[in-house]
Structures are given as structure tokens and as C-alpha cells.
Amino acid sequence: MANVFSEAFPIVASDYACAGEASAKIKSLLKMIGIDPALIRRVTIAAYEAEMNMIIHSKGGMMTLEISPDTIYLACDDTGPGISDIDKAMQEGFSTAPSNIRMMGFGAGMGLPNIKRNSDTFDIRSCQDGTCLKLKFNINQKGDRP
């Protein structure tokens, strides 16, 4: 795979003041290199949902964006505590977010399903040591797939 670009974005647990900054940078980068706006929208929504999940639920981690000529890769790796039941977490409306998160407008249980809906390939693995989410977005097909 010939990557033309790669950048990593550290995500700090419970850093709500900076929430969305990594995803905004990703959006800006994709705009700068001329990616189709509908595809940018899909990647940005998935990135923002994943970023919020890491800030709310994890001990922190890293989002890594890689862009090859035909694919955008987004990897989200955190250091735990992991998702105990991925099947449940994939159900719309299922949420373990505490009330203070819901007061901010998040934790509706739409995150992971929305990430899957917006990505072309979705892979998630989780254990107590952390969650690894790998997303792929095809550059050469029409952007507004979902």
C-alpha cells in the first residue's frame, strides 16, 4: 500500500473542552486534498463519533488517519477498559454513558451504529486492555453511500 499521507491524533480521556478538534482537523485535511464532499461528510461523522466514544468511555488513545490513492483509513485505538458486549453496543439506543454525558447531548446509543453506517469497512475488536476500531472509506466510489 502506497500511503501518501498519515497523521496521528492523540485523544485524551474526559477532555470535553477539546472534543471534536481531532475530527475537525481530519475534515480540514480531507478538504485540503480535494476529497469528494459527500465522502468527507461520512469520514467526519465516523471520526467525530469515534472521538467522542474515546473521550467518554476510554482511558484515552490515538486516532490515526492514513490516506492512500484509493482509500481513507481511520484507526482508533484506546487503552481500555474495553466494551464488554460489542453486539449490544452495536444496537441503536443501547448506551452505557453516564448522565453527565447525556446532559451534553451525547450517549444516545447511536455512535457505533452510525460509525458503521458511514464507513465502507468496519472492524471492531475489544478486550479489557482496549478497543481497536478500524474503518475504511473507498475514495473512488460515490461518496454518499448510506
Partner: protein, 116 residues
């Protein structure tokens, strides 16, 4: 429907973003849960919400939402306005409840996101 018409119909105060007033809107999304906004809002929609924090602006930024209407007389703080201005987002405030504001715009012909 243009943003200026939304402002007039709902008797809104303009907080910032006058540069977008002539821009057209495709639809409207009314929600306090930003997770729902991320799942359902469409391009070119106006977001009506009773939630007032910087995450609303961030969510709008991700979705290229050009205009946010804060309902129930809520006013955004200076830091929220600054973030909206940085991202070119128009902020309006109205006294109506979320239900009333959405209903009024619906009767004036602005479609919901779900019908697009």
C-alpha cells in the same frame, strides 16, 4: 426557505453569522441529542435545539450545518459564539419551544430531514 426567512418567521434574534442570511436551507432537524443530529441531519439543514454548549457547534461543524436556532429563549455564551463565528455558522435565538419552532417551520413548508 432562506435563513433570513427562518429568522423572520420565528422572530429570532441574530447572534452571529449575518453573512449566511441569504443562503437557502434544504430541511430542518430538531433535537437536543447531538448523537441523533449526527445520525439524521442532512446537508444544508437548519438545526433547532434547546441544548446550548460548544458540542452543538462542533456537531454542526462536522455536518456543514450553516444555521443553528436555539429555542426557549436560550442565549449562547461568548465562547460558543466565538466557535460558531470561526466556523462560519449562523446562530439565531427564539423564544418558542422546540416543538413550537419546528411546527411553525413545518407548516411554512420546510421539510424534515427524514423525508429527503
Amino acid at each position: 426557505m432562506r435563513i433570513s426567512e427562518v429568522a423572520e418567521i420565528l422572530k429570532c434574534d441574530l447572534v452571529c453569522g449575518a453573512q449566511n442570511l441569504d443562503k437557502p436551507l434544504s430541511s430542518a432537524c430538531g433535537a437536543d441529542l447531538m448523537s441523533d443530529v449526527l445520525a439524521f441531519a442532512k446537508d444544508g439543514c437548519v438545526l433547532l435545539t434547546g441544548m446550548v454548549n460548544q458540542h452543538v457547534i462542533r456537531t454542526a461543524e462536522m455536518l456543514d450545518v450553516l444555521c443553528i436556532v436555539f429555542v426557549r429563549g436560550k442565549m449562547p455564551s461568548d465562547d460558543i459564539c466565538a466557535l460558531a463565528e470561526t466556523n462560519g455558522i449562523t446562530l439565531l435565538c427564539c423564544k418558542s419551544t422546540l416543538y413550537e419552532a419546528c411546527g411553525i417551520l413545518y407548516t411554512k413548508g420546510l421539510p424534515p430531514c427524514s423525508r429527503l
